[in-house]
Subunit: 432 residues, 2 copies
Amino acid sequence: MPAILLSIGDELTLGQTVDTNAAWLAEHLSALGIACLEHRTVPDDLDVIAAAIQQCAERAGTLIITGGLGPTDDDLTRPALAKAMGAELIEDPASVEHISAYFRARGREMPDRTRVQATPPQTSTMIENTRGTAPGIRASLGGCDIFVTPGVPREMKAMYERDIEPAIRQSADQYSGVTRTILTAKINTFGSGESDIAEQLGNLMARDRNPLVGTTVSNGYVSVRVRSEHADPQQAETMLAVTMKQVRDKVGPLAFGHDDETLQQVVIDRLRGSRKTITTAESCTGGLIAGMLTDVPGSSAAVLGGWVTYANEMKTRYLGVCSELIEQHGAVSAPVVEAMARGALKQSGADFALSTSGVAGPGGGTDAKPVGTVWIGLAWREGGAVNAHRFFTNLAGDRATIRDRSAKCALQLLRLQLMGQDVEHVKWATRA
Amino acid sequence: MPAILLSIGDELTLGQTVDTNAAWLAEHLSALGIACLEHRTVPDDLDVIAAAIQQCAERAGTLIITGGLGPTDDDLTRPALAKAMGAELIEDPASVEHISAYFRARGREMPDRTRVQATPPQTSTMIENTRGTAPGIRASLGGCDIFVTPGVPREMKAMYERDIEPAIRQSADQYSGVTRTILTAKINTFGSGESDIAEQLGNLMARDRNPLVGTTVSNGYVSVRVRSEHADPQQAETMLAVTMKQVRDKVGPLAFGHDDETLQQVVIDRLRGSRKTITTAESCTGGLIAGMLTDVPGSSAAVLGGWVTYANEMKTRYLGVCSELIEQHGAVSAPVVEAMARGALKQSGADFALSTSGVAGPGGGTDAKPVGTVWIGLAWREGGAVNAHRFFTNLAGDRATIRDRSAKCALQLLRLQLMGQDVEHVKWATRA
């Protein structure tokens, strides 16, 4: 039986607050094998909430409602639930005592208006709030199990983990006899468009497949999501592993990590694992690559530091790039990024150096070097020698996007180099 | 006529992605005086999406749908909309040409499967996507205006601002006969908490006031929003201006800009206006300050570049920080950030230098210097001399938050210095 999530509050429908509760609950329900049929958000309006509860309860086996349980006049979830159930609100003495104890423990007296929180609809029961004053509610409406929690994420999460999840598990088992397990996993890629990845995946993306494979794009990353559903948890896990392997094989070396792993984390892990260090010499990315690398906890073991050489004079003075080279080829050119990377490597003593120089826009583009033209340099030590690659990329988008994708492209190129993989896999950059 | 927002995608109903589009759209619709009756999220399922579109269109004057417009088999919003409308999908030659031009401009051929994005339901029209390949759709169903955008936030936002908002404004005016003018403006602040700002604003924040004044917090910035509503456009404008002045007076020098102005933009504008240059010497922020500054178009006129000196040896070798100073006080200390800023100023020849050194965590904290301890240095030339300030701040949050707030704090301190304002206004940092 699928679930529906209902979030209550003007701050949500007015867009003043981003609802993070729904995603958190959906992820936890998925882990129990319960699919979410829908998330719905409605404003602080008694009739609207009551109608939404009725509609959702008709279609779902489990309805989790968050928000609107507070003590003020715009907290209307309790009366709305009572209306939907056709029930009276009746004070629950145990909850009154619990709220009053909550205040006593903090050396305060219970404010009169908080007492109203202890009046659930008749036939429902209260769920203890271990992190705040508003108790939750457990009710039933036409065969649908309803759980209501406060909207404050930490109170909601504590209540879900302590009381709601065990109750859902129990009734899911009772209902079906067998529990279905849903396992999800994600493979993150960078350097190719969504349609290219889809092409590579081919019929793995068929909609009637189980495990189901889908793609999503976020900030230039294309993620491949896999969802495995089965009555037998073992089977669900095996099926997931098989499909994950198939996806990895199809996608190839552009896949840099799983689930929440970031590109910079993977790069830092690889560097640390081989006790190598990195430095950066950034022009158009202006510090973004260094910023991403040092975003990783423990990155100081691998990142020596770097230069942001925005002015040509800084490229010359600190990285030893010949001013003649800049005059002859322009700062945005293969010879200059190569010289920047070699210079940074030499100056810092690092094992790897990444450099960038490009036209991020919106101004500064020419016919020969339009906005989006970016050169990336990569230098590294091998034996006694220093080697270097130069990459060309032509990126689309606004200034922020061009800079962001350039930085990620540089990290992906470094990662492939670290893995001994052919950099030609990156569709977004070509070696010059 | 109220609006409904419908978000499409398994990644949302499975909880793998938090939906930020709905809040963004709701906020923008509110600014137009349009209330959101509901947000709804449904999975990638043709029949479910089609049913949701029908139900929402029955109740809303405007329905904005995001997601499911991509080129892959799990992108089902176009066929679902066609089903809800009882219409065929017909290829739109202009959109095919537009998508193909998008790829041509990037030196690539249009992948065959992206062509499907140019087939909207008959009687609907396509909305140009200036940031990606999937066009949006404008349709009508039983008196409800439907707009469909990709789920990628930057594509959605560009499409909303360029085409959808003007269209909504126009039909709202036609519907109501009289147009009420709603003008909104925003004042952005950094360096103080939301409750402090609320205290300063006092009864300007009364809920029955017009213009209405509210605050929102985002990434450490506290923005004061003002919403002026009146039948007479002149009157709405005058009322807005009066309240904006009152807000500015109450908030004081922490207010750095209006509407979408960023802190880095204001800093770059001030530097360019006085023909001054800046350099950076970053340890804990690892390139974030340089990255923020160079994020501003035209920043090359003011930003010379900078150093990311993560390793102590780099602080010594490139910025001339005495190794004895580091040994004696530790890298995270007032003398070291001051020496870093002075060194960067001297090396680069810039007029201003910002430096940072801190414990960003999660590891590396001690009793004397817990995680969140950050020192910021600011050096500048005045007459023939070099002056420097050292600031201490103790920030809360995870690694990313501590780094981000440190960088913003440094920029705000520089901004106050550039304006000749007392830096003591910044509640988050104290001068040492």
